[in-house]
C-alpha cells in the first residue's frame, strides 16, 4: 500500500507540473489530498499543487469553493463533540456488548491460529516428530552403499498417498513397551532405476537420559522377485 500511494503522489505531481488545463474537475480533490500526504517531498511541489488547485477552482467556475482544508476539519470536529453528549446509556451498553462479542471472536481466532502454529512447529522442528525421524532415516538410506547399488544414485522418499495425490503423510504408530515410548514408521523409497521400489521400516526408542529418540533398527524391503531385505542399522 505505501508503494502505491507514493506512486500516486508522483503521478499527480507530474500531472500538476505539466498541464493544468488538461486536468478534469475531479482531480482537484485528488491533488488536495495528495498535498497533505506528500509532506516528505521537497517544499516546491506542494506549492505547485496548491497553485494548481486554486487555478482549477477558478477555471471550473468554483466547483468546490476554495476553502482551504483546515477550516472544514475544525467544523466537523465541533459537530462531533456536540453529538457525543446525546449518546444514551442504552446505546453505550449495546456498544459495549458488541465490542465484547468482537473481542471474543478475536480471542477465538487467535487461539485457533496459535494452535495451528504450535502443531506445525512441533511437526517440523521437534526432534521427536515422525517427520524428523523420517528425514534422518532417509538420509541414512541415501548414504548406504548397498541401497545405492540397488536403487541408483538419487533416491526419492515419500509417505502415504492422500486423495489429492500429495504424499506427505508418513504412516507411524506409537506404543509404549517397558515404560519407554517406541515409534514405528513406514515409508517408501524409489530410485532412478525404474520399477525398483522399496519399503523402509524404522523403529525408534526413547532414550530417557537425553530425552530424544534413538534408532533401534532400519530395514529396507526391496520389491523385487525374490524379495530382498537390506538391514541398514540394528541396535536391538
Amino acid at each position: 500500500l505505501p508503494a502505491s500511494l507514493g506512486r500516486g503522489c508522483l503521478g499527480r505531481w507530474l500531472l500538476g507540473t505539466r498541464g493544468w488545463a488538461l486536468l478534469g474537475t475531479g482531480t482537484g480533490i485528488g491533488s488536495g489530498s495528495c498535498s497533505c500526504s506528500c509532506r516528505r517531498w521537497p517544499h516546491q511541489p506542494p506549492l505547485l499543487l496548491r497553485a494548481a488547485r486554486q487555478s482549477i477552482g477558478t477555471q471550473a467556475g468554483g466547483l468546490k469553493s476554495a476553502k482551504p482544508g483546515g477550516d472544514s476539519k475544525d467544523v466537523s470536529v465541533q459537530r462531533a463533540l456536540n453529538e457525543e453528549t446525546l449518546v444514551s446509556a442504552a446505546q453505550k451498553v449495546k456498544e459495549a456488548g458488541r465490542d465484547f462479542t468482537y473481542f471474543i471472536v478475536v480471542l477465538v481466532g487467535i487461539g485457533v491460529t496459535g494452535g495451528l502454529f504450535y502443531v506445525i512447529f512441533k511437526e517440523l522442528f521437534s526432534s521427536s516428530s515422525p517427520n524428523k525421524i523420517y528425514g534422518d532415516a532417509l538420509e541414512k538410506c541415501r548414504s548406504h552403499p548397498e541401497i545405492i547399488g540397488v536403487f541408483g544414485d538419487s533416491i526419492k522418499g515419500y509417505g502415504e498417498a492422500t486423495r489429492r495425490g500429495r504424499r506427505q503423510h508418513v504412516s507411524h504408530i506409537e506404543y509404549i513397551k517397558d515404560g519407554l515410548k517406541h515409534m514405528r514408521l513406514k515409508f517408501y523409497i524409489e530410485g532412478t532405476e525404474s520399477g525398483k521400489q522399496g519399503t523402509v521400516h524404522v523403529e525408534v526408542k526413547e532414550n530417557l537420559e537425553t530425552g530424544r529418540f534413538e534408532v533401534r533398527y532400519i530395514i529396507v524391503d526391496v520389491e523385487t522377485y525374490p524379495r530382498r531385505t537390506i538391514v541398514i542399522e540394528d541396535n536391538r
Partner: protein, 164 residues
C-alpha cells in the same frame, strides 16, 4: 489401479489449477450474486439481471486469479519435490512463500517479502490443519495388531502387515 500407479506430480499441477479455478469461480459467483443483487435498482427483475451481470463479469476474474495462485503453487511444489527428492511439509511452506513473492513482483522487493511472508504463513496454517486432521482421523480407528514383536525381516519368520 492405474491412477495410483503413475506419479502424481506433473498431473497434480493441472488438478490443483482446475480445483482452484472452480473454488474461485463458485465463491466469487456467490459473492457477486449477492453484491449485484443489492447494488441494483428496485424491482426483482432488475436485481436478478444485475446480479447475473455481476457474476458474468467478476466471477471468472476471481476464478482466474485463484487458478494462477494454485497453478503456480503446485508447479513450485513439484519442482521442490523433484529437487529435494522427498515429500515434506517444508515443500508446501516454501512453495507458498515463493508463490506470494512471485505474484507480488510488480510492486518491488519490499512488497515481495511481505507477500512471501503472508503466503508462507498461510500455507503453514493449512499444513497444520491438515496434520491435525490426519492425526485425529488415525486415532479414530481402533489399534492395530499388537506390536511387541520385532518384524520378521530381522529374524526369518512370517511378518504380519501392520496398517493404520
Amino acid at each position: 489401479m492405474e491412477e495410483y500407479a503413475r506419479e502424481p506430480c506433473p498431473w497434480r499441477i493441472v488438478d490443483d489449477c482446475g480445483g482452484a479455478f472452480t473454488m474461485g469461480a463458485i465463491g466469487g459467483g456467490i459473492f457477486q450474486a449477492i453484491k449485484g443483487f443489492r447494488n441494483s435498482p428496485v424491482g426483482v427483475n432488475h436485481r436478478l439481471r444485475g446480479s447475473l451481470t455481476a457474476i458474468k463479469t467478476r466471477a471468472p476474474q476471481l476464478g482466474g486469479s485463484f487458478a494462477v495462485w494454485g497453478g503456480l503453487f503446485s508447479m513450485i511444489d513439484c519442482s521442490m519435490v523433484r529437487m529435494r527428492g522427498k515429500e515434506d511439509p517444508w515443500n508446501s511452506i516454501t512453495s507458498g512463500a515463493l508463490t506470494g513473492a512471485i505474484l507480488a513482483a510488480r510492486n518491488g522487493p519490499v512488497a515481495m517479502v511481505g507477500s512471501a511472508a503472508m503466503g508462507g504463513i498461510l500455507l503453514a496454517l493449512i499444513e497444520g490443519a491438515g496434520i491435525l486432521l490426519t492425526r485425529f482421523a488415525s486415532t479414530q480407528f481402533p489399534n492395530g495388531p499388537q506390536l511387541s514383536e520385532d518384524p520378521a525381516q530381522l529374524q526369518p519368520a512370517p511378518f504380519s502387515d501392520y496398517r493404520q
